[in-house]
Amino acid sequence: MEGRDATAVTVRPEAPGSPGRREGFGDLALAAASSKTFLTGAAILVFWVFMALFWGVVAPYDPQAVDPTASLAPPSGEHWFGTDNLGRDVLSRVLAGASSVLTVAPLGTALGMVGGIAVGLVTGYYRGRVDDVIMRVVDALLAFPLIIIAVLVLSVLGSSKVNVVLVIGVVFTPIVARTVRSAVLSEREREYVAAARLRGESGGYIMVSEILPNILSPIAVEATIRLGYAIFTSATLSFLSLGIQEPSPDWGLTISLGRVYLQAAPWVVVFPALALATLVVAVNLVADGLLQAVEE
């Protein structure tokens, strides 16, 4: 403490609400909001969330409306992004396609976060035998490439939106658990945890009410990073036709089905691919912005 005035500046007790490293969520959001990276990502993300909810209002055509007379039409004033092999408007399908990925990915992420936080808290706080056993299982799970586990599980369970959510959740749990566990390990050595133990708090209370609120920042960062991966995973699974099924305008599925026409009608593939790219990049920008805010 003593003799490091430069640091003392940021944690000065006399200035309430100063952006110390261990401040709350509100301060994190505030710091993130002043970063251009975060704002750019957030703007794109908000755009796609809006589309996922209100594509019905915005889309110029019904994304499922077949028009055999306008099959594989190139982009024009009438169809800005062109049409696909069945004459469906690509723009409308891209806009509508946001909803499936933005349902599956966040739900899967949420499931993985809940599971990972629970496992991470318990292993990190209790250590010992429980920790050893669970972490070895986690190591084993992490050794498998994510996509292989997903393919395995989905071929057994059958493909449906719910199953994709479950798979993403299960695959993310050990990854999140690691992050949470390491945060808990350093937090549990702090004296406020010792003080809680000395007044006889239960393990559950200490984990949930004492430790958890103090590790929300790394958890928030982890969640956004995971969301990016979840979007990518869900698109990949659709592309491998293990996820969302026809006739959904899902981007991964559309790319998969349209890739036959890549040479003749690239717009069928390029626009949903671009949409997917912008969404993943947006989420990563948000994650970067948050990470910077946490580290500052």
């Binding site: 490091r4 007790p13 133990r197 000395l198």
Partner: protein, 698 residues
């Protein structure tokens, strides 16, 4: 004020520095002017946040990126320092100016041998080849009085003790015979005996080298020992400057006086004198203060002080004070001396520890942190536990508090409660009666909980207050008993200053009317002005609630002031235990003797007492020496008996006993002959404020 004879090594004039935060400049150094003459040691003192490290960084041109120099001029040996370009700075740093940091363990490169790190300087700045450089390095280590420098060269930093590491740092800094050496809190993280060692070295080096030194410290006693002149920083302003002896004996600024009055002075005891904390707190950074920065806390502030900033008044003898009423400072009366009557102690034993052992690690690779400790704490007393880091005092506290299980031995509380078991096996009564206050309030209070929640939770679990209303009422009561205001209940700890946070921690420990509170270095993370307030508070609460404290500290001044009984620990064992007075006076254990002689008190003008030097570093607790554990370093080592036989307890009346082969009568003679008589008998009753006791110095 600049150098009268010849050119100053460093000349700072009107320096103002701001830090940018959220694009908002916050002034941290305001109109700073001082100079260091060649060969002079200049001490810069102040509490945390006053800007002293910023000054050091500015002199080395190491300021962080968000720092802006708003005004002023710094010249280094006549050359403009602030305007110097990168190439010039690289040439200067390391060869003409050097810096030693607070924590030598992190300032040395852990992956390089010490020899390679020192000889790098010679190769870099003197263009020497490898062999010549390492020869020079060895010679340099000899100059900083490292024993066996040849062997040390081949070691890695982690193989050295803290004192050796700091010597290596100093050797590196001095290797090019720089004109300026900046020492930034060089002894702060070190143990008392090591601190004394390093300060001795700095004193000796002053005569060997003609280097100007800027010595930065928060410890007035340390600065007094080493420096000729002292500048006192407060809120980024140099509020007083002058020759160190005169300045500290008769300060001319109320802040300096306040600092001097809030540290326990030699022979000062709680039953005779009360510490005087400085009221209020440091103004926030960037605060717009039209008048004197200290006005809001000053006992003699008038209206003029709040509107007119005081210029640097020349008070004669090369002294400067930024106080409009500097003439009145010597006549400021000591504050109200309301001495808290010590609680009536019935002398009953509250805590009885018998042969307590705590071993960490497995059988193959184990470390006995506490190696068979026995002592008693009586009702209503303060039992002080002292010892250097690694002596096992914190491990002992963790065993007693129940954070860890004791490996063997017994500890009984109030005659019937067994406390050798860990916390989850303790019952509610024991938890309530035995609480703990931790060293650092920043980490002992959950940063995400409001003070209300922190206290409420403690009341719920320790006092069993289930009703929400009742809990609120009791929280307010508890807060007011530690002099917190109701508005403090709503905020989170981050909105409180260090002292207020520690008050919350104290209130929490007292939620369930404890009988014994373990205080693990409760004031060592706090500034001196806050320290005094917390120590007073602990005494007040003790008087109100009749509690006992087990007070762990490395600061002997504090323990001597506060404790009724004292236990001295070395390598996991208690080596000296008894009533406070008896432990501090000879005869006492040679280790206690060394600790006492290493104390830096304000009264020492340096060199008045022979310091007892301990040989070598503290052995590792995982492989303690045979016989007497202290024999490897003992200044009164007798011979084989110390090496082979564990020493017996020697009794010296009044319940004082120590573990040594030398009998009390003999030891007393040896220790008194050495002149290490630390206490004048009348000291405790003397009205102890600086202006009146200048007879002994000078």
């Amino acid at each position: 004020m600049s150098a009268a004879n010849g050119r100053a090594t460093v000349d700072v004039e009107g320096l103002s520095i701001s830090y940018l935060r959220r694009r908002q400049p916050l002034r941290v150094i305001e109109d700073l002017t001082f100079s260091i003459r060649p060969g002079e040691a200049y001490g810069l003192v102040g509490e945390s946040g006053c800007g002293k490290s910023t000054v050091a960084m500015a002199l080395m041109r190491y300021l962080p990126q968000n720092a802006v120099v708003d005004a002023g001029r710094v010249t280094f040996a006549g050359d403009d320092l602030l305007g110097a370009d990168g190439a010039t700075l690289r040439r200067w740093r390391g060869s003409r100016m050097a810096m030693v940091y607070q924590d030598p363990a992190s300032a040395l490169n852990p992956s390089m041998r010490v020899g390679a790190q020192i000889s790098e300087v010679y190769r870099q700045h003197r263009g020497m080849d490898g062999a010549a450089a390492s020869k020079e390095a060895e010679a340099m280590l000899g100059k900083v009085r490292i024993t066996d420098p040849g062997r040390i060269l081949g070691r890695y930093p982690h193989e050295l003790s803290g004192g050796q590491q700091q010597r290596v740092m100093i050797a590196m800094a001095l290797s090019t015979d720089p004109e300026l050496l900046v020492l930034d809190e060089p002894t702060t993280g070190l143990d008392a005996t090591v601190e004394a060692e390093v300060l001795d070295l700095v004193e000796q080096l002053r005569s060997d080298f003609d280097t100007s030194i800027l010595f930065i410290s928060h410890n007035l006693g340390v600065v007094r020992r080493v420096c000729e002149r002292v500048g006192v920083l407060y809120a980024g302003r140099l509020i007083e400057e002058g020759p160190s002896d005169e300045l500290l004996r008769e300060p001319r600024h109320p802040y300096t006086l306040g600092l001097l009055r809030c540290v326990p002075r030699r022979g000062m005891r709680k039953d005779a004198l009360r510490l005087e904390p400085i009221p209020g707190s440091l103004p926030p950074l960037g605060a717009d203060l039209p008048g004197c920065v200290y006005a809001s806390r000053c006992p003699i502030a008038r209206e003029r002080c709040h509107v007119e900033p005081p210029p640097p008044y020349d008070t004669g003898d090369g002294r400067i004070s930024r106080c409009h009423y500097h003439d009145e400072v010597p006549t400021i009366p000591p504050g109200e001396q309301q001495i808290t009557p010590p609680p009536p102690s019935d002398g009953a034993t509250l805590l009885k520890v018998e042969d307590l052992v705590k071993t960490y690690g497995t059988s193959g690779n184990s470390m006995q942190a506490v190696a068979g400790v026995s002592f008693e704490v009586r009702q209503g007393e303060v039992f002080g536990l002292v010892g250097e880091s690694g002596s096992g005092k914190t491990s002992l506290a963790r065993c007693l508090s129940g954070l860890v299980d004791a490996s063997s031995g017994r500890a009984t509380f109030e005659d019937h409660l067994d406390i050798s078991a860990a916390e989850h096996r303790r019952n509610a009564e024991l938890r309530r009666k035995l609480q703990m206050i931790f060293q650092n309030p920043d980490t002992s209070l959950n940063p995400r909980h409001s003070v209300r929640r922190i206290l409420g939770r403690a009341l719920l679990l320790l006092a069993g207050v289930k009703n929400r209303r009742e809990r609120e009422r009791r929280s307010l009561e508890l807060a007011s008993s530690v002099r917190l205001e109701p508005r403090h209940l709503q905020v989170r700890p981050s909105a409180l200053s260090g002292g207020l946070k520690q008050r919350v921690a104290i209130a929490r420990a007292f939620a369930g009317e404890p009988a014994l509170v373990l205080c693990d270095e409760p004031v060592s993370a706090l500034d001196v002005s806050v320290q005094a307030a917390i120590l007073n508070l602990l005494l007040d609460v003790q008087a109100e609630r009749k509690v006992s404290y087990l007070f762990i500290s490395h600061d002997l001044n504090v323990v001597r002031y506060l404790a009724d009984s004292i236990g001295v620990m070395y390598l996991g064992q208690l080596v000296d235990v008894g009533p406070a007075r008896a432990v501090f006076d000879p005869p006492h254990h040679p280790y206690t003797e060394a600790l006492v002689s290493a104390m830096t008190t304000l009264e020492d003008s340096g060199g008045s007492r022979p310091r007892i030097k301990l040989g070598g570093p503290m052995p590792s607790p995982s492989d303690p020496p045979s016989g007497c554990r202290f024999h490897t370093r003992c200044p009164r080592f007798l011979g084989d008996i110390c090496r082979d036989e564990a020493p017996p307890w020697q009794r010296d009346g009044e319940g004082h006993q120590y573990r040594c082969h030398i009998r009390p009568g003999e030891l007393s003679g040896l220790q008194r002959a050495n002149g290490a008589s630390p206490d004048e008998p009348q000291a405790a009753t003397r009205r102890d404020h600086p202006p009146k006791e200048n007879g002994r110095q000078g």
